[in-house]
C-alpha cells in the first residue's frame, strides 16, 4: 500500500536534488533545469495531497505551477542563450 508519505518522501528527494543541482552546477541552463526540478517536486507533493484529500484545488495549483515553470524555462533559456552569444562576441572582439 502506497501512502501519501511515500510520494512526499520522493518529492523531498527530488527537491533536494534540485537544490544540489543549483548549488553544484554553474551552467545557467542546468541551473534552470534544477529550478524546474524543484517545481516538479512541489507539483508532485501537491498532486499527492490533492489525491489523498480529494480536493480539486491541488490539481489546479499544479496546473498553475506548470504554466509558471514553462514560462520561467522559456524566458530563462532564451536569456541564457542571449548571454552566451554576447559573451562569445566579447571574446571574439575584445
Amino acid at each position: 500500500m502506497i501512502l501519501p508519505s511515500h510520494y512526499l518522501l520522493l518529492s523531498a528527494l527530488l527537491f533536494a536534488v534540485g537544490i544540489l543541482t543549483i548549488t553544484a552546477r554553474r551552467h545557467p541552463m542546468v541551473v534552470l533545469l534544477g529550478i524546474e526540478l524543484m517545481l516538479q517536486a512541489a507539483s508532485l507533493a501537491c498532486v499527492a495531497l490533492a489525491s489523498w484529500f480529494q480536493d480539486w484545488g491541488g490539481e489546479i495549483a499544479v496546473l498553475a505551477v506548470m504554466v509558471l515553470a514553462a514560462v520561467q524555462l522559456a524566458i530563462g533559456l532564451v536569456a541564457a542563450v542571449a548571454c552566451g552569444n554576447q559573451q562569445a562576441d566579447r571574446e571574439s572582439h575584445p
Binding site: 533545469l33 522559456a74 542563450v81 542571449a82 554576447q86
Partner: protein
C-alpha cells in the same frame, strides 16, 4: 504489491533522471535526463488517478525538453551529433510512454498493446476540472493566460533581439 511495484519503478526512474541532471556534464544529456524524470512523474500522476495532469505533464515536458535540446544543440553540439541526440529523445519518449500505458492499466503483466492509450482521460474528470476552473478559479485562469502570453511574447522579443545582435556582430 500491485500498486507498490509501479510506484517503485517510476520513483526509481524519476530519481535516476534527477541524478542524471546533477551528475551529467553534457548539457544536452541533462535535458534528456530531465525528460525522463518528467515522464516518470507523469506516470506517478497517472497512478494517483490524476489523468489530466499526467497528460499535461507529458506534453509539457516533451515541449520543454524539445526547446532545451534545440537551444543546446544550436549552441554547443556539433552538427554531426544532433541526430543522435534527437534519436535518444525519441527512444526515451516511446519507451516511457509505453511504460506509462502499461502502468496506468494497473498491472505490469498485461499486454501493452491492449492497454488504453495514455491520452484516454475520463471525460467526467475533464468536465469537472473545467467547471471548477471557470466557476471558482476564473481570475487565476485569466492571470495564468496573461502570464503565458507575456512569457511567449517576451521570449520571442529577446530571441529576435539576440539574433539581430548576432547578425550585426558577424557583419562587423
Amino acid at each position: 504489491m500491485i500498486v507498490a511495484a509501479p510506484f517503485a519503478l517510476l520513483a526509481a526512474v524519476a530519481l535516476i533522471g534527477a541524478g542524471g541532471i546533477l551528475m551529467c556534464r553534457h548539457t544536452a544529456r541533462c535535458g534528456l535526463f530531465f525528460l525522463v524524470c518528467c515522464l516518470a512523474l507523469a506516470g506517478l500522476y497517472g497512478l494517483l488517478n490524476m489523468h489530466y495532469i499526467a497528460v499535461v505533464q507529458s506534453v509539457t515536458s516533451v515541449c520543454v525538453a524539445g526547446l532545451f535540446l534545440t537551444l543546446c544543440t544550436s549552441e554547443h553540439v556539433a552538427r554531426a551529433r544532433i541526430p543522435s541526440v534527437l534519436w535518444c529523445a525519441a527512444i526515451a519518449l516511446v519507451f516511457l510512454t509505453l511504460t506509462a500505458q502499461a502502468l496506468l492499466r494497473g498491472t505490469l503483466g498485461e499486454s501493452v498493446l491492449r492497454a488504453p492509450p495514455i491520452w484516454a482521460v475520463p471525460g467526467e474528470h475533464i468536465s469537472t476540472l473545467g467547471r471548477e476552473l471557470l466557476e471558482r478559479y476564473t481570475i487565476l485562469l485569466a492571470l495564468l493566460a496573461l502570464l503565458l502570453l507575456a512569457g511567449i511574447l517576451s521570449a520571442a522579443y529577446m530571441l529576435r533581439r539576440a539574433s539581430r545582435a548576432g547578425t550585426k556582430g558577424r557583419k562587423e
